[in-house]
Symmetry: C2
Subunit: 500 residues, 2 copies
Amino acid sequence: MAKFTTGAVIPVLEGALADGPRTLYTQLYDRVRQAILTGALPLGHRLPSTRTLAADLGVSRNTVEGAFSQLQAEGFLVRRVGAGTFVAEAGPEYYRTPRVPRVARRSSAPVPTRPRGRDALSERGRRTAAIALGPDSAGTHPLVPCLPALDAFPVRTWQRVVARRVRRGGRDLLHYGAAEGYRPLREAVATHVATARAVRCDWRQVMIMTSTQQVLDLVARLLLDAGESAWVEEPGYRGARAAFLAAGARLVPVPVDEDGVIVDAGVARAPDARLAYVTPSHQYPLGGALSLARRLALLAWAHRRGAWIVEDDYDSELRYTGRPLASVQGLDTAGRVVYVGTFNKVMYPSLRLAYVVLPPDLVDLFAAARQQFDGHTPTLLQAALADFIEAGHFVAHLRQMRLVYRERRDAFLAAVAEELAPRIRLGACDTGMHLTGWLGEGVDDLQVVDRAARRGVALRPLSTHYLGPDRRPGLVLGYSSAPPAVTRRALRTLSAVLDA
Amino acid sequence: MAKFTTGAVIPVLEGALADGPRTLYTQLYDRVRQAILTGALPLGHRLPSTRTLAADLGVSRNTVEGAFSQLQAEGFLVRRVGAGTFVAEAGPEYYRTPRVPRVARRSSAPVPTRPRGRDALSERGRRTAAIALGPDSAGTHPLVPCLPALDAFPVRTWQRVVARRVRRGGRDLLHYGAAEGYRPLREAVATHVATARAVRCDWRQVMIMTSTQQVLDLVARLLLDAGESAWVEEPGYRGARAAFLAAGARLVPVPVDEDGVIVDAGVARAPDARLAYVTPSHQYPLGGALSLARRLALLAWAHRRGAWIVEDDYDSELRYTGRPLASVQGLDTAGRVVYVGTFNKVMYPSLRLAYVVLPPDLVDLFAAARQQFDGHTPTLLQAALADFIEAGHFVAHLRQMRLVYRERRDAFLAAVAEELAPRIRLGACDTGMHLTGWLGEGVDDLQVVDRAARRGVALRPLSTHYLGPDRRPGLVLGYSSAPPAVTRRALRTLSAVLDA
């Protein structure tokens, strides 16, 4: 027990110091400081000598000496030779009255208190918080869209590639990297998108990012001013809407049919939009492919108006029937298309590697902005992915995933036909990892989602993908992440929910 | 040579297809498509039969068939049974006249062309581009500040830890991670900052980010509205200024002396600022430590006004004399401090791992915003760093780096004394990886930097760290990244430059 030479025992300094990860020094330092800040040790109060305190607490004198020196260095204690150690008298208001309410009461100035929590944010912060979409789904959820078949990911091969890259990379990979990305990966991406997607680009136009979402955020910040219009598909991808909204843009919903977004409707509604966000290979969520006529009409509008086209080419590698349509970017002759792709679905979600192919005259500006916003993507993972592609593992993996997903899709179609028809009508199904399940008119898809969640099955409603009031009920159904037997069980639960 | 059954040879289709990585199919597809888009193959033109074309080009009929099917699927070609294959007649304006100038000339509507390059950006994009600071230095530059001693990084140990984590992590680490970060790393950071920096926090307040710059960007976007004021140190860290400027904030330069930022001056100039950015452990670039009195005054102001304090605690682990001062965060009792630290300097720059300790009621909102802006940081590297810390390697590494840097600092001080005194006067030198070298009044530090660059020595001028007109000439000199002999050679070059 600490006995103080200058009066009453200070309760906060009492008690043996504990064994454990925090050093005795730190514990003592904390106690004394806390005692000063809370006022338990008054200003000017004399402390026991280091010898006395060390004996009282059963610690070495060095420990006490260390704590006192530190507190002295920080201005909490004053040590006067021959007189002893004192709690410092100096220090502003806050020091003497650490708790805010007391500061507020004592202050003679008016106290404009700011509200807490969400309201403590800036207006921009509140807007961002209001449109935030919640986390991506971790784990396996058989009917949630856009989750890859991690059970089929070649994890051993990937491990070997990463381990080898770590071993061989040595110190060269430790330095700051370029904001544009690691050159061998940029080259590999340029070759991949040229071959697989008919994207026309030089590797210098490729920038490595962490996710499609990061690309959309950067695009919104650099190409859109607050109040400017952006076309978004209706129904459409909510992540894109959130990115443009966070930038203060005005969203113009452009309706979609089985040939993708109806470009003429966009031109009629907002010819002066600054940007159009489209998913031409596989419209999200409905699944149509944008027809060539519309691709060309979209480009003609963008060229005429100097607008930007953001082509989100997600899932384009996963086409099961026929060949994928070539990219809009490859048809562009005037540098109006920003082409976006990601490895986070075809590889695995926690990899955090995506890419954007930029018109040549935007590259330097995007790189400078990205440098300022978050620097660059970790070099080790970029280098490992470049190795994985270079060694042919990526193409082999894509081929394998196409087989796995086609098999899962076929099993899914069969299961829906047996378990759910005719209560659900399925949309396009020749590409990707999900499809649309239309519910009957008047069914409330949010209620279906709620009821299924209570039975342990996660679902994504279609209606939230609409901006306007003209919403059709349905579900965006994934079939990619779980083995067919698991998916079928989930579909049975959904069937029970629809019957309830 | 291709012989066309319907007239003149089309030059673009001529010539043998090349061996190489692109398939014959892709090459033929590209040629035909390009010929259509450029108008070399006119609308309605009949193409040779697949048999004829295959024979002419010396490829299999399947190859031609594949290319034609694809072009048909995309709407470029029309195939009529019994009649042959034709270039499609349909398609909008752009299809027929792919180059923009021609579109522009043909269009009867007025053509509001947007300027190209930097001017094609939004106003926000232009502002961001204008304030962007350029890339971080890769490689070893003996006198550039903030570059770690990568020659002393325990690269073998790190390789072992990553390789083991990759092997053992299996599939569990592949799923989407939390925006807040990987829990074991958040816990390790919470323990580290509590022990080393007297930060008071629960692990749930720790968010893993990619860099200090990313934290500052997020802070600026969520806590500052355009037009609001932010205190920045004068002179101060340019990255922070850039982040706040990009958010449209008004910067209030608050002067700095040897005890850090002069809080009273800030209160006098902009009492209603929304936020104060400070480097209390080691003022950047001058090197002073913020006195306790000023720490408490800063907190008192923030509490009274409901303002935010952004505490950038860079370099705080690297103190060579005495103990580091405890953090401002640890003195805060009202949740007004956002505490920022990074692993990109004490570990290595391309790691891309940093952290922020948030007041509890900001955590959910920051996580939601980060989720939307870029998702999360790659899980593998977070897990490996958690292992590295857990196994004690991180503490050992810090201890080792303190020795290395102290040695390099001592050698640097000796070399400056011999080679450069009295033309350069050095500032505070008891912490970190750099110090200030003051030049005589009237010396133009930008000119010194230019002249040294021409002799192959990179330097950072001090004057660009000031916002206001009252700039003192100097250099921000690093001594951390190169061995002493290399640094001394660079200092000799600097000496020659100053004599010139």
